[in-house]
């Protein structure tokens, strides 16, 4: 009987328009954020940071970006990997070419460059949708693969497009240990998630959703599809691009174009489908799921196999991973297009009424 909104009367529209109108939700989120900043660094070892937490944070950021475009604005994209690549390589060029440019500014400029490229590849969305748009965004993927592999200027003349960065520093904070990297990613993610949440509950978010749900009616009400769609491409690519910069600089430290292949695009799309289209929270669920599932399978599948006297090879595990993803995608697309986030909120709704189901 703890999760209740009884007695919490919202007496103003301002109170009603908060991100989490229910007090328990607010406290829970605050507790999670505080724990993430203070508790996690004390408890977690290096491996967990490297293998799970840092990728999870960065991919969550990218998934929020993809969700803005696909989940909120209804424009399909298979170019997320490309926009991550643009963010990473653009940030790299700003970083090495402009001496003394603060690291965060390089990241943000990487994001802005990705936004510009995103707008360009979003132009077809004004004409086509669905499969055709997917193909157009896929073109972004092949284009960036080619550019970063073949145009040496972008990679500072490194052969095969491989670049690396070292000695990251923000003001006097040396970002060296996994804990530092984790905290940097976490801070950026929290700020960006808040920005995304704000946009989606404001006029711009309603424009995106209106275009997604019924574009003719949206136009009739005075929403310009050109602005709504291209702004979604821009904001989405900005998020994805910034995530790309973090992925390159913080997670990998040295990378080549293959780090941002079409596989990444699909992975991000799967995240938002499984996590929940049109939900910022869902982006986190999806990212957590996709980062953790392979590791869980690696740990447990061979063990389960041994119980039944079957030995499961590493290849077997990665096949199982693909099969499980496939099944899940189909399940969510058919049964629950709003993903884990919807299951979560239905669960909460039940909890609110518990123990009286009606």
């Amino acid at each position: 009987m703890l999760y209740r909104e009884n007695g919490q009367f919202r007496t103003s529209y301002a109170a009603d328009q908060q991100i989490f109108p229910i007090a328990q939700d607010r406290w829970a989120i605050l507790a999670i954020v505080v724990f993430a900043f203070v508790g996690v660094p004390l408890l977690v070892d290096e491996y967990l940071f490297r293998a799970i937490l840092i990728p999870f944070l960065i991919l969550s950021l990218a998934a929020i970006g993809v969700n803005i475009l696909v989940g909120y604005c209804g424009q399909i994209t298979l170019g997320a990997g490309a926009f991550m690549a643009v963010g990473a390589y653009a940030a790299y060029n700003f970083h090495i070419r402009l001496d003394g440019l603060p690291l965060l500014v390089s990241f943000l400029l990487g994001g802005c460059t990705a936004a510009a490229v995103g707008i360009f590849f979003g132009i077809p969305s004004l004409r086509v949708r669905g499969l055709y748009l997917a193909v157009a965004t896929l073109a972004a993927q092949f284009f960036t693969d080619w550019v970063f592999l073949r145009v040496p200027w972008f990679t500072n003349n490194a052969s095969s497009g491989s670049v690396s960065v070292a000695n990251l520093q923000i003001l006097s904070w040396q970002i060296e240990t996994p804990t530092d990297k984790y905290l940097l990613c976490l801070t950026i993610l929290v700020v960006f998630a808040l920005l995304a949440k704000n946009m989606t509950r404001c006029a711009i978010g309603r424009q995106w959703m209106a275009i997604r749900d019924m574009d003719v009616a949206a136009e009739v009400i005075g929403i310009r599809p050109l602005f709504a769609k291209l702004s979604a491409f821009a904001v989405s690519s900005f998020f994805v691009g910034t995530a790309g910069a973090l992925w390159g600089f913080v997670h990998l430290a040295s990378w080549e174009p293959a780090a941002f292949s079409v596989d990444r695009s699909f992975q991000l799309l799967f995240m938002v489908i499984i996590g929940g289209l049109g939900s910022i929270m869902g982006s986190f669920f999806g990212a957590a799921f996709i980062v953790i599932l392979p590791i869980m399978l690696n740990q447990f599948l061979p063990a389960i196999g041994r119980v039944f006297g079957i030995s499961i090879s590493t290849a077997g595990v990665s096949h199982a991973e693909l099969i499980i993803f496939g099944v899940l995608i189909i399940f969510f697309l058919i049964k629950e297009p709003h993903g884990i986030a919807r299951m979560w909120s239905t669960g909460k709704e039940k909890l609110r009424l518990w123990p009286f189901p009606h």
Partner: protein, 260 residues
């Protein structure tokens, strides 16, 4: 009827519209006076919806002109129409299914939003204040339409009659000067129709909104409208006050006589 009307604010001149070989509208002219309720009637496929789509620029007529408050438009588009204060509802409800009732109505405020994307992202003063002011305005519409109990419900989950009402609410949230209603009462039961009639008359009366109404129920049309245009196979066959139209033999045979 003894009601006073203003000037002609919307004037359609020789509008013709065809889809490939199908002539949806042929050389139609009629006008709408400020503050009146102007009905468009006619059998299915007569071109009524096409007429509304021409007025607010969803369809581009091959011929003809739209004169809105003295301004000539050969090519109207939905955005210009919205800017000019025209809002509408749809025959097949076109609500934003994934959004709550409040959010649907808030989209109606879109043209009045001044804050930019950055201010909104940071929930900056102007964006926040604006959001609250528009919310207050939308709540007025919610009260007016008596839909307080469903304000947070996703519209996809609402029954048909209520969806029609929310559709009207979204159009009203724009504070239009001209409201186009495409069969707002189709598929409703008697009680819902009465409510809808009352809302339409109240909007016209309280806010002085000019209304162009497509409706099938002849009883309703004759009751609420000030003047009626009759279409048949894309041609205008009658135009006048309800009594005149009712007495017009061509209209009787084409429509009231229920020959098709």
């Amino acid at each position: 009827m003894g009601r006073e009307f203003g000037e002609v604010i919307l004037d359609l001149q020789s509008v013709s519209l065809a889809f490939g070989g199908v002539k949806a509208l042929t050389d139609i002219s009629f006008n709408v006076r400020e503050h009146e309720i102007r009905a468009i009637i006619g059998p299915n496929g007569a071109g009524k919806s096409s007429m509304l789509n021409v007025i607010n620029g969803v369809y581009r007529p091959q011929q003809g002109e739209i004169i809105l408050r003295g301004q000539h438009f050969t090519r109207m588009n939905p955005y210009k129409a919205a800017r000019a204060g025209i809002s509408r509802t749809f025959q097949n409800i076109a609500l934003f299914k994934g959004m709550s009732v409040i959010d649907n109505l808030m989209t109606g405020r879109n043209l009045k939003i001044r804050s930019n994307l950055l201010q909104q992202a940071f929930w900056w003063g102007p964006a926040r204040r604006e959001e609250l002011a528009h919310r207050a305005k939308v709540e007025e519409v919610i009260d007016f339409l008596e839909i307080q109990h469903i304000r947070k419900t996703p519209v996809g989950r609402l029954p048909y009659g209520l969806q029609k009402r929310v559709d009207l609410g979204r159009a009203l949230a724009m504070e239009p000067s001209i409201l186009l209603l495409d069969e707002p009462m189709a598929g409703m039961n008697v009680e819902e129709k009465q409510d809808m009639c009352r809302f339409i008359l109240d909007v016209n009366d309280q806010f002085g909104t000019t209304i162009v109404l497509i409706e099938h129920d002849m009883g309703v049309v004759m009751d609420v409208s000030d003047r009626v245009v009759v279409l048949d196979y894309g041609r205008k066959i009658g135009d006048g006050v309800p009594d005149e139209v009712r007495a017009n033999p061509e209209v009787v045979s084409a429509y009231l006589g229920a020959s098709h």
